[in-house]
Symmetry: D2
Subunit: 348 residues, 4 copies
């Protein structure tokens, strides 16, 4: 068989580990592999690259993806599905391995229903994908955020400051909770648990009262206010400095900066914000993510070899298993509230 492989959506440490594993295992299984550049766009535009042993040499420890990526959605392009089928046929591509998140796998799932032979590999920094215990890239992001919190701790302590750290997580707070626990956060704000700023300030004030004159607040970019319409109880907070969109997300400046300003105003403690941003998703993957990516890639290659399409390789406990593509998409995996309770043990 001739297998096409692509990476879609935001980049994520471990993508190259998956690509390498799919290629290596598929060659051993007696197939050919061709790289499709820049996600679904590449198959729509016939943009391919050779993937032999030389092409994958030395890529395991590197961040990013040698295939490039994009957010192109086949179903938002006119006759997208037909074009994919035609271009696969023209290029002699028998089947696809699609590595990506909610969107990329959603397309994969639809294509499969439309008759395209496709196997998926789940990918998201945010770890919010259903049907897999953890996604690669997440461990790297959590370690980068934790190291940043470690660094901010010393500054907070030296200056008697409150430090607010904004981490990734638009819809789920996995990075915030893991990095917050690992970094010893005093407050963690996540989309799953809308917050009240007065309660946050209360925790900080009590902490200072017992002699700890610095605090670390970790906040997901998608964290939201508890009160209705995202307006704080006295109505002043949102109106004065915060602009939110229809989903309650801060539009300008980021929630980290907005919260820091408000905490300083309300508590009187010097407060500073740091928005970690893109450094969380770049660079060399951790060992965990390299191993997970490699295992998923080998498993996906074997699914293809056995002709088991319409599935995604997923981590369950210690094992890699196959789950139906349609189960993987549609619903977000939000933070386990038992885990959040563990984090709360250390608040204040």
């Amino acid at each position: 068989m001739k297998i096409g492989i692509l990476t879609g959506g935001g980049d994520c440490p471990g993508l190259n580990a998956v690509i390498r594993a799919v290629v290596r295992k598929s060659l051993q299984n007696g197939h050919d592999v061709i790289g499709i550049r820049e996600g679904w766009r590449g198959i729509l535009e016939n943009n391919f690259m050779t993937l032999d042993l030389d092409a994958i040499s030395g890529i395991l420890p590197r961040g990013g993806t040698i295939l490039g990526t994009s957010r192109t959605n086949v179903y938002k392009v006119e006759n997208g599905e037909e074009k994919v089928k035609q271009n696969m046929k023209d290029a002699g591509i028998d089947c696809l391995v699609a590595i990506g998140g909610e969107d990329t796998l959603g397309v994969a799932s639809k294509l499969y229903k439309g008759g395209v032979k496709v196997v998926g590999v789940p990918k998201t920094i945010d770890n919010d994908l259903n049907a897999t215990d953890y996604t690669f890239g997440f461990d790297t992001a959590v370690n980068i955020a934790t190291e940043a919190i470690d660094r901010l701790h010393t500054t907070a302590e030296a200056h008697n400051r409150v430090m607010v750290v904004e981490v990734m997580g638009r819809h789920a707070g996995w990075i915030a909770v893991h990095a917050g626990i690992a970094g010893g956060a005093d407050v963690i704000l996540i989309p799953e648990k809308p917050f009240d700023l007065d309660e946050v300030c209360d925790v900080i004030t009590k902490r200072h009262a017992r002699g700890k004159n610095f605090s670390i607040v970790v906040v997901s970019e998608g964290a939201k206010l508890k009160t209705e319409n995202n307006v704080d109880k006295d109505g002043s907070f949102v109106l004065s400095s915060m602009e939110v969109d229809a989903f309650g997300h801060v539009k300008l400046g980021g929630i980290g900066n907005v919260i820091a300003e408000e905490i300083e105003k309300r508590t009187g403690f010097e407060t500073r914000a740091t928005v970690l941003g893109y450094i969380q998703r770049g660079g060399s993957p951790t060992a965990f993510d390299r191993v997970l990516g490699t295992r998923l890639g080998v498993f996906a290659a074997d699914l293809v070899d056995k002709g088991e399409f319409g599935y995604m390789a997923a981590l369950k406990g210690k094992d890699i298993v196959a789950v139906k593509l349609e189960e993987a998409v549609g619903e977000l995996k939000t933070v386990d509230l038992e885990l959040y309770k563990v984090a709360e043990t250390f608040f204040g």
Copy 2:
């Protein structure tokens, strides 16, 4: 209740995370916690320390254990069990949280059968403890080893060398397999799969033949020869340079050095060995190990609070669960051979 807490066996990144979590959660549960210094020795010698919020402040990111550790075995001391009971009584200690590996938990299990209220927390760098999916410290060790392999890769490539890396793992090859997969090893030798040096050299020679004139060999300290009595087929290998003990372990110099010498002799390729040693078990834990240690500690504190003794906190899939102490000890958890097959995909 007054809870005594101790750490036994080799040190391991994440011990302080567990201690902090047990103390913090137990105080919230309304109990007192007292630190027992240097493992079981501390309770035999009445060597205690105060563990309040101040004592655990700032310890989360630190390696080692603020309690100190030792390999003292209660049951190798005359009237050990009686002394433990008497000293607990004298110090007003109602129950124990014992953090350790096979040996420490073995003592805990026996003490429980003898009537001592005890809860265990599993700990081993080597990840070879039964009844828990992963142990804290392991992820840190794997990352340190992986980073070392990354570094050795560039030297191997620049000099056309074979680099042999000896990692921890006396009875199980978990570190070798994970770091080997993550570091892109060309050969991985583990205790679970006795090896034949000619086969190893064959892989390396074939690799060179296809233009890759460097190789990385990762070897567990407990790796063993395949042939009988640890003598290589032609009888020359062991006799010339290797001295093994009753268990087949190399006594002097380490297996890494011995293998490197033999590979150079047999293949003619320049070969160098690096023994990673103690740097694998020291220093700041990864985020994974901090989160795991914290979750185990909180869970153990709750077991104590609920009066559920004789159990150990364990990781199963994404959850922390209670398993009986006796199930945790007695049998090693060796490397999953499915995982080793994934690693083999990349050999040569």
Copy 3:
């Protein structure tokens, strides 16, 4: 003698190395050392701490400062100088070691002229202090920024993006130039070389034209537009999205965000900004900064011992030397333009 020691201004990796060295050496020289908390504020408010061998144990690898810090200026407090003298007398403090930047050493210099026995140790993340080749903390900041740029590179490449990285440097571009060279930046913008956005966009566009469809722009927080009144040539830039203060610094959002927006608008290439912020000044110092801090501290202790006050310990080539405090302050050390030319070799 009884020596008082304090740290002032922003925190900086290596401060604890200096404190440890001053204490250790001074004790060996037969003196006592007392810690003054939170910079000059501590001597004004009689806020002291004991500094014996126990107090400095284990602090070498830690970021921040065990003494705390503040920006309190003795000469902005009524009768500040008199209070310092009186409080020193009351506490039996014979002389001071002041560790800090422009402001802290400026106060030290005035106090010395006023009759106080004081020795200085230069400190600034920004490396913009005169009379010393390099300051500790700078190497750590540059390494953190470089690692971030390395990470952003993989994202830029995977997404065909321009990544703008804002680093510290309000008045001098040392961090930007060093991290930019080390990270392989395609453009570096510093306060010493006001920039023209069209030229910046031109470099990026030409880079894309030769097949490199990603770019890294490193910008000091204090970088300024070339054209008059900080308005870009066509007048549109500043007015539309940029608010600058009297010194030409962007007031809101940071220059990184503003530039990223403009580059995207002008070139059509997807552009993202990352503001590194406080993570650059926290956490464990590099070996270079620990060695430099230690050497400066030992030297300062010896200056005190020899009664040579009014001096600062400084790095000149490979040596630590004494320079007069008054020479150290008053004029900034801006980026060597030869070094910037080296950086320019790699632009585009």
Copy 4:
């Protein structure tokens, strides 16, 4: 001109930074650059590679050398100098940039006297090359060793152990002294200061007596005993377990292991050794080494462009300057004893 460039001797982080800088600057200066593979061997065997902008893309952060390296000495090959000249002529190579240490630059110096146009760039992990303040690669090695010592500290403390760390430095103790100061070593043993084991044990014993029951001993691989013929005072040490070669270097097992065994025997304290080995010279260079390598490469390219041959680019204070090749070789730069005195401040 057509410029040939080569890297010789042991690999060293920063080599790729130099290569990239020489190529980039020389292209801008209007010349061509050709890569000579595996040091001097490549020019003897006509083993070349193309070096254009593509070839150097992305190599800045990578360890090793894309050119490969060897220890081949032109003057140990029959008619070596003639062959070099002939092969240069045949390949149209006008001049050489040789990056290497004592041996490589020694050959460069002789070739220059023989009429070959050559410019040198100094390289050694060990920092023991004359006529330059620091060499690239050294800072990376020191940071790796320091991080290892940090890790060993926590193990030493948890187990009440003496940890012996063997670092690189056959003839000079630069790495040991810098990493020892940065890591807070209690004893540092270097080739420049032959040691007495009884004195070493005395320091450790006194440390324990004052309540510090762990110690870190950093030892250069080339450290030597103080007493005559490398036999310890009572004659027992060397005879029992140490075999030294004519230069006093330990032949088997490494000095770290030998010393650890003796310290345990003499003091009764549990002692363990770690030999860092090759991880010190591999992997991604620090920012310092990338900047230094880049500056040296740009400078060397300009020397070539100006026709100033027979020189080496060197770091003096903050500047890069030209020094005659003959001054660079012949004499080792040993550890500054003032610096060692700084280190001694923290012994015990």
